[in-house]
């Protein structure tokens, strides 16, 4: 009898322990890993972490872990994570990372989230840049427009007017160059390649024809390259640009050693206080054919196939898209939001640089998919490929275009032939 009683006691205890374990397992929050790129200034990561903390507070069953990922070696960071099975649940990333990862079966479409938010909620062109094979491969959240910024003080000191055409730009650059000051400063890294993208698109050209063929040697793009080569030949481009990284070029511009620089519209807000008012945005310049245009990057958020909590991840994505305003208002992020509703906020409407970029440049901006449009996986390889950094370095070195363009065109053809 006592044996039977002992058996029942043990059974009851086992039941209690099992029940407690199940309850504990059910109560444990789901952990989501969110990898966010280091989007410019240091305040950004602080604001993003704060936003994640708010989400965690409002959703006790989910715990989002925020990780700020540096841009250095970003591609190897993500590819090795995916290849080793340790990808995040959700991440921001480079402009064409989502479409590339989608082609490699590493991310899943976010069609349902787009549907819930509504296609009309996004600025024109943002969704198109994330649509591939009938799916939205990432959720657009920021539009990064590249434009020419200029130093008002340098132009005033030399009695120069703000240029409105390429010819005027070349003349102004030449006029202000001298005594350690240059007309234009760039870099030899992937940011320096933006100079090529901006001017090619400005001239109605680009890397691709309308039917998607490599077009670095097309007439319009070659004209843009000749324009840049002429600037270098004039001595208007800081020769150090070849070895500069983007932050060197920005520092040189802030120090008043260059009159023009290509960067994001909100760069003045990141400048030292005494420099801020001296920086202006150059109105869209007309190319020799009368075209205007510039280059833009549609930054997006993607959801990884490796996530074991897709439901919670999509819920977080939707929440993030609806509550991300502090990334700008507190995080001082330089690009502007892809969501129309956030753009209506006084923060953007009262900021002349944002307002100007949104109203004047957004309608004429194109991604590096120009002139084809849309998005495709090969763009990820094009964006940041060393062949284009080499091309821009050789361009600033003054090497002849006939020597430096064919290898870059061959590389572009190789990428597109994959």
């Amino acid at each position: 009898m006592s044996n039977l009683r002992a058996y029942f006691v043990k059974l009851t205890l086992a039941g209690v322990i099992f029940g407690e374990s199940v309850a504990a397992a059910n109560a444990a929050p789901v952990t989501l890993n969110f990898w966010d790129m280091q989007w410019g200034v240091s305040e950004y990561a602080v604001a993003a972490q704060k936003l994640v903390d708010r989400y965690n507070q409002e959703h006790p069953n989910v715990h989002v872990v925020y990780r700020s990922v540096p841009w250095a070696n970003w591609f190897s960071t993500f590819t090795t994570a995916v290849a080793s099975g340790s990808a995040p649940d959700i991440s921001t990333g480079a402009g064409f990372q989502a479409v590339y990862f989608f082609s490699q079966d590493a991310v899943v479409p976010v069609d349902d989230v787009v549907k819930e938010i509504g296609e009309d909620a996004f600025v024109p062109g943002a969704l198109e840049a994330c649509r591939y094979q009938g799916h939205y491969v990432g959720l657009p959240w920021a539009v990064d427009i590249r434009l020419f910024l200029y130093r008002k003080d340098i132009l005033e000191a030399k009695g120069q007017k703000v240029p409105t055409t390429w010819d005027e730009f070349r003349a102004v650059c030449k006029a202000v160059s001298g005594n350690g000051v240059y007309g234009y400063v760039s870099s030899g890294d992937s940011s320096g390649v933006h100079t090529l993208f901006v001017t090619a698109i400005n001239n109605g050209g680009g890397l691709f024809t309308k039917d998607g063929k490599p077009a670095l040697t097309s007439d319009r793009t070659m004209e843009a390259l000749h324009f840049l080569a002429d600037l270098a030949k004039d001595g208007s481009v800081n020769p150090a640009s070849v070895g500069y990284q983007n932050f060197d070029a920005v520092a040189s511009f802030f120090q008043g050693k260059a009159a023009f620089l290509i960067e994001g519209s909100n760069l003045p807000a990141q400048a030292p206080a005494d420099v801020r008012e001296k920086i202006g945005i150059l109105p869209p310049m007309k190319s020799p054919h009368g075209d205007i245009g510039t280059n833009e990057w549609i930054n997006n958020i993607m959801v990884y196939k490796q996530t074991t909590h897709p439901k919670e991840t999509f819920a977080f994505l939707k929440w993030w898209a609806e509550n991300e305003k502090p990334l700008w208002t507190e995080g001082n992020f330089a690009s502007f939001p892809a969501r129309k509703a956030i753009l209506q906020d006084a923060y953007f409407q009262n900021n002349p640089n944002y307002k100007y970029a949104i109203e004047v440049f957004a309608p004429i901006a194109k991604t590096i998919a120009a002139q084809k449009g849309g998005t495709f996986p090969e763009l990820n390889e094009v964006d940041g490929d060393a062949a284009f950094s080499t091309l821009i370095q050789q361009l600033w070195q003054g090497k002849p275009l006939s020597q430096i363009v064919p290898p870059a065109q061959a590389r572009l053809e190789e990428i597109m032939s994959h």
């Binding site: 030899g188 150090a240 500069y244 040189s252 950094s389 080499t390």
Partner: protein, 293 residues
């Protein structure tokens, strides 16, 4: 007649030796043999890190050997290694000889000379970037102070190559100096006394006593320096990202670019194996040279 295997297995203590060696053998297999075998497999395959492809034989090697970028990187790697070995050896031996003579403040100098070797590569190379980065950099200020025109060290291919070599020599010579100093101090003094009695001049003593005595350590040091130079990623990458216009892109940077920029693991692995093969051939000949009396 007993076979070789039978003889070895029958040797006393064979089992004990196997048991004692097995942890090391397993470790070597796990951290060297397995990754190398995997790398070799990748070099014979197509595909990316995310989506491995199938076996393509020697296609990656053929493509690599037909690529102008490979020869550009090979040329830089060879030049970089030769210049670094020559520079480090000359500087290291010169300073070691001075130290051996017993210059005043020898202890302080020894610490100062070791500093470039101790400083982390990132700090060292980034500091050099500040020194030569543009026309307002420290070196250009000095050039301008003497009436010269600024030099864009990192924008001109030739200058960038020279700066990368100089920085590498600056970072590496302390190791050479320290090792050669130790070797010089171990030479039997009676050899110099005998040479002096025979009427040898200091130059003859250096040629016929010092150099033969440090021959073996010199070969080993040059061998190590060659391997470190060819495999150096930090210096050319942190200083110029392999630029300008690929002027400082060595084989390691090329392999990195294939693997991570282009996501072409096969080509990256093939580049690494070609580099490894080249190094192994050089190591073989240098070790044979060392054995020759």
């Amino acid at each position: 007649m007993k076979g070789f295997g039978t003889t070895v297995f029958a040797k006393p203590g064979f089992t004990t030796a196997v048991i004692l060696l097995s942890p090391s053998l397993l470790l070597v297999a796990a951290v060297i043999a397995y990754p190398m075998a995997l790398g070799l497999k990748y070099s014979l395959s197509s595909g990316s890190l995310l989506r491995p492809g199938g076996f393509i034989g020697l296609a990656n090697y053929i493509k690599l050997l037909q690529s102008p970028g490979f020869y550009n990187s090979l040329q830089f790697s060879v030049g970089f290694a030769i210049a670094n070995i020559a520079g480090c050896y000359t500087l290291g031996l010169g300073i070691a000889l001075l130290m051996q003579k017993g210059v005043p403040g020898q202890g302080v100098f020894r610490v100062l000379f070791l500093l470039p070797w101790i400083v982390p590569s990132l700090v060292a190379v980034v500091s050099w970037r500040w020194l030569v980065g543009d026309e307002a950099a420290f070196v250009n200020r000095i050039i301008k102070a003497f009436g010269g025109s600024p030099i864009f060290f990192l924008s001109t291919s030739g200058w960038a190559v020279l700066i990368v070599i100089l920085i590498k020599i600056w970072r590496s010579f302390p190791f050479m100096m320290l090792s050669l100093l130790a070797s010089l101090q171990s030479i039997d003094r009676t050899l110099y006394e005998a040479a002096a009695i025979d009427g040898a001049t200091p130059r003859q003593m250096f040629r016929y006593v010092t150099l033969p005595q440090i021959r073996n350590i010199s070969i080993v040091l040059c061998l190590m320096m060659m391997i470190w130079s060819v495999n150096d990623f930090d210096t050319p990458w942190l200083l110029a990202k392999g630029g300008p216009a690929n002027a400082t892109q060595n084989l390691v940077i090329l392999a990195y670019r294939y693997t991570f920029d282009r996501n072409d693991v096969g080509m990256g692995a093939a580049t690494s194996f070609v580099t490894l093969f080249g190094l192994m051939v050089l190591v073989f000949f240098l070790l044979r040279l060392q054995r020759r009396k």
